[in-house]
Each structure stands twice: as C-alpha cells, then as structure tokens.
C-alpha cells in the first residue's frame, strides 16, 4: 500500500546527504516536507506543524530538526541562507525578513501534478539538489503511469470532516483524476441530502490517528451504507507533494 511512500524514503537512505553548508528554514507545513524530501541535511528550522503525523507525511524525519515559530527574531538567530514558505501563515514575518535582506522564497501550493513537478524543479535548483529532484519526479511519474484511466470514469468525492469537500480545482481533484475517477464534488460543501440524492461511486476519506473523524458520523446514515469507501492518509492530501501520487495509487486499487 505504501509502496510509493517507501520508494521516496528509500531515496533518502541510499543517496548521500545533500549540501550540508546550505542553511534553510521552512515556515510552512508543505515546504517542510519538500525540504526534507530534497535536502534534509540543509534544514535548520521547520514550522511547528512539521512533526505532526496527522498533517505531515515526513513527521518522523522532522524529529531531528528544531522547530521555529513564525517570528523574525527566531529565524534570524538560525542564520539561514534561505527561507521557504507559501503565501499566508506568516505574512508579517516574511515581510520583515525580506526587509532585512534575507532570501525568502514564497511558493504557491501546487494543486495538480504538472505544478508539483514544477515546484520540485524550482526547489531542487534552489537547494542545489537537482539530481534528487529528478529522481523524485521519475518515481512519481512511474507511480502515476501505472494507474488505470478508464474511458468512462466512475465518480468519487473526497469527503473531509463536516461535509467539506476540497472543491473542483484542488489537489484532491487532481488526485482523483490521476486515479481514474471523475470528481463529483461541484462545490466546497455537500449535505447529507446531496450525498443521498447523487451518490458517488466512491467516497475517499482522509483520516489520521487522533484526527476527529466527524465525517464518519455523517456516513453512519444507513442510506449511505451502499457507497464504497476508501481511507487515505490525511497528510498525503493536504500539500502538493509527491505523496499525492501515492494517494492516487491507493485510491486506484
């Protein structure tokens, strides 16, 4: 099941550590994971969410890296060469660091696989880890190539707690498409009535240990018992990382 994830982790073990002299701080959950995938030796600071297994697919790898709160003072004390983050979450801190002359790169979170590839290439260039980046992309592409793409795809919905779906142009939509499904979510929220009236062929449920699974209460209704369900690790669906390919693979079986 976690074949793809294992593949990525193997890369970490078999390849030598990346540039040790480069010091990089990540202020965002998604850039945390990308940094650990591409250049774990360069990480000198990660966001406070980096070690949360329900949110980060690289939680255990983050254990040896210090966590840094979104505060310009804390970041400056680590003397980084580069700060990575995404829009929102630390706007004032980013502005302050920028004003102080630090190199801050703000990346948009990728929501489809071409964007994930582009992000990997950009980061790999910044982190001087081009070879590793290429290997990550190759592994991801191999996983995606092995997935079925039926001519008449069945429908699926990624259902998060409280009836939320991720919406049509999100990462979840891309994952479903890669898995050979059509995303049946037409808006960001769906009601029980909506699910019963137009049931999808598959319900994808992001879940994690200790995560409040209010979604299951919604699904306890007997009218929905007939719909097939597939659980997926929540951390694979939050950020645009190669782990999204692993999620697509899990859904495809």
């Amino acid at each position: 099941m976690k074949r793809a994830a294992l593949a990525f982790l193997l890369l970490l073990l078999t390849r030598p550590q990346a540039e040790a002299s480069l010091r990089v701080v990540s202020l965002n959950l998604c850039t945390d994971q990308m940094l650990l995938l591409l250049a774990p030796g360069a990480a000198v600071g990660l966001s406070p969410l980096a070690r949360d297994p329900s949110l980060s697919a690289m939680a255990s790898e983050a254990a040896h890296v210090p966590l840094v709160a979104p505060s310009a003072e804390m970041v400056l004390r680590l003397h980084p060469d580069l700060v990575l983050t995404e829009p929102y979450g630390a706007t004032a801190t980013v502005a302050a660091l920028h004003a102080l002359g630090l190199k801050v790169v703000v990346l948009d979170d990728p929501t489809n696989f071409p964007q994930i590839r582009a992000t990997i290439i950009t980061l790999a260039t910044l982190l001087d880890a081009r070879a590793r980046g290429a290997a990550l992309i190759a592994a991801m592409d191999r996983t995606l190539a092995g997935l079925e793409h039926p001519a008449d795809p069945r429908t699926a919905i990624v259902l998060e707690p409280r009836g939320l779906t991720a919406g049509p142009h999100s990462l979840a939509g891309s994952v479903l498409a890669a898995a050979g499904y059509r995303d049946a979510a037409r808006s960001v929220w769906i009601s029980l009535e909506g699910l019963i009236a137009h049931p999808p062929d598959l319900l994808v449920l992001p879940e994690a240990p200790g995560f409040p699974s209010l979604a299951t209460r919604l699904l306890d209704d007997p009218a929905l018992a007939v719909i097939a369900r597939r659980p997926v690790p929540a951390s694979w669906m939050i950020c645009g990382t190669p782990f999204a390919a692993a999620a697509a693979q899990m859904i495809d079986r």
Binding site: N28, P48, L67, A69, P70, S71, A72, E73, M74, L76, R77, E86, P87, Y88, G89, A90, T91, A92, T93, A95, A96, H98, A99, L100, V106, D109
Partner: protein, 314 residues
C-alpha cells in the same frame, strides 16, 4: 493639579525592557534584531497605545459618556476591513506595505462615511448611531471576507491579525503609522477647552462660543487618524481607549481637557507593558507562537472594568 511627569521615567524603563526582551530571549540581541525588529516594535506600541488612549479620552469627553471607545465610531473596523481585503487578494504578498496602506484607505473611507451619515451638524447621538452602523457594516463584511478566505492558513492568519499585534513590524511600518497617528494626536490635544465646555451640554457650550459641530467633527477626524491608523497597522487592539481615561478620571479628576495628554502617556505605557507580557509569555510558557496583543489587553482590561464599575456603584 497632578501631573504625569512622574510617568515618563517609568515609560523610559518600559522602553528599555522592550529593547532587551524578545522571542529569542532576554538580553542585548544581535544589532539587526535590536534596531530592525525590537525598536520598531517598541515605537509602534507607543504610537498605537498613545493614539488609542487619547482617542478614547477625546471621544468620552465629546460624547459625555465614559463607555465610549475609539472602536465605537466604526473606523477601526473599516481599517481592519481594508487591511483584510489587501490580505485576501494577495496584494500584501507582492508589496508588503499594501496591507497597512489599504488599512489606512479603509479608515479614511470610514471617516468620510461617518461624517456623511452624521450629517451637516453632527451631535453626539448622531455620531454614535452613525458609528454603530458603520461598525456593524464593517463587521459583517469582515465575516464575509473570512468566509471567503482562500485556505485554512489564510483564515488562521486573518483571525490572528484581527486579534491584534505588533510582532514583526519593521521601521517601514512605523514610518507609515507615525504621520497619521501623530497628526491625530495633535488635532485632539488642542480640543481640551472645547471638551471641557461640553460638560455643560451642547447647547450651553455653544453659548460659550464653542463651535460644537466642528468640535465633534474634529474629534471624529482625530480619532479616525489615530485609532484608524493604529488598527490599519496592528489589527484589533481594544480596551486601551476605554480603560485608560476611566482609570485617570478616578485619580486626576473628571475635567475632560486635563485627561487628554495623560491618557496618551498612560495608553502608550499600558500597550507597551502588554506587549512585554506577550513576549514574556512565549519565553515562559510552551507556546508555538506569540499570543495576540488584543487578547492581552482584553485580559488586563476586563478586571479593570470590574474595578471601575464597583467604583461607580459606591
């Protein structure tokens, strides 16, 4: 006549502590942290606290109501809305000063709307009603903006920004905040005798030669400048404008004009002290991020309100 000269050394001490205390610890920090982060933070706290303090004193004097607060006029709400719009549309990501600039724009529009609603000859009640309407509109639009937040990080950041803070503000932020806040303070400081005359009511004040309508307009303008700019740069820091004049009233007497400058000074000191507590709490408590400044001022302010209420009851 009690003077506030004794408060100035105390304020200087707070400033010194503010330069030595930060999220990275207590002591003399790296020069870049000292001059580019701690100094602007200190200056901004003084500006914002002082602006809120004097706005509260002037408003309470003009409206003859000890419960008046700068937020009452709805201008801080409009400033927050302006900043949130810049934030939401990602303008702040490309050009950092966009956030406070849009906040100042929001405050300006709010002040114009307020004076328009209150009419050609604003009276106290007219101003209050107009302010409440503006506040409600701004709050509704803010809630709408939060509902449209692009992702959970944005929502969380917006929510925390609205709770107020002076963290990670730079010298550029101080340069943006200082002109409107200082101008607002100057406008309000000159209104002392007019506010004293208003003690006897708007009618009697006008027979004393005080231009009541233009006094109220100037109070609205001064508050818009001082409290509006404060909100544009630091979000929703509350309670300071309400509490400081009431504290001073019990100690210095109730003449509105005499409370203006002391409220400025005590407001500055109170906000800086609250921000010191914010930084201290990060050092001694296991927190991931600084608690919002607005939460601290509310926690400190609420017991003071109880004390003031009990004093009235006697």
């Amino acid at each position: 006549m009690k003077s506030v000269r004794w408060a100035l050394p105390f304020l200087a001490l707070l400033c010194l502590l503010s330069l030595l205390l930060g999220t990275s610890g207590f002591g003399v920090p790296m020069p870049v942290i000292l001059w580019q982060l701690r100094l602007p933070r200190t200056l901004l706290a003084l500006l914002v606290g002082g602006g809120l303090g004097i706005s509260g004193a002037a408003l309470q004097g003009a409206l003859r109501n000890p419960l008046a607060d700068p937020g009452l006029l709805g201008i801080s709400g409009m400033a927050a809305l302006g900043a949130v719009i810049a934030f939401y549309w990602g303008l702040a990501a490309g050009f950092a000063p966009a956030l406070p600039l849009f906040g100042l724009l929001g405050a300006g529009l709010g002040a114009a709307a307020l004076l328009l609603f209150a009419g050609r000859a604003p009276t106290g009640p007219a101003l209050i009603l107009a302010g409440i309407g503006l506040s409600a509109a701004a709050a509704a639009l803010l809630a709408f903006a939060l509902a449209l937040a692009p992702n959970t990080y944005a929502l969380a950041e917006l929510t925390f920004w609205l709770l107020g803070g002076v963290a990670d503000r730079t010298l550029a932020d101080c340069l943006l905040a200082a002109p409107p806040i200082l101008l607002g303070m100057l406008v309000l400081l000159r209104l002392g005798p007019n506010l004293d005359a208003l003690t006897l009511g708007e009618e009697t004040a006008s027979t004393l030669g005080v231009p009541v309508a233009s006094t109220l307009r100037l109070v609205a303008l001064g508050t818009a400048l001082a409290a509006g700019a404060a909100a544009a740069l630091t979000g929703g820091v509350g309670f300071v404008g309400l509490i400081v004049p009431n504290l001073l009233r019990g100690w210095m007497g109730e003449r509105p004009g005499t409370l203006l400058l002391p409220s400025l000074i005590l407001g500055a000191a109170l906000l800086l002290a609250s921000d010191l507590l914010v930084r201290l709490s990060v050092l001694v408590l296991p927190l991931h991020a600084e608690p919002p400044l607005g939460v601290l001022t509310a926690l400190i302010g609420a017991p003071f309100l109880v004390v003031i209420a009990r004093r009235w009851g006697q």
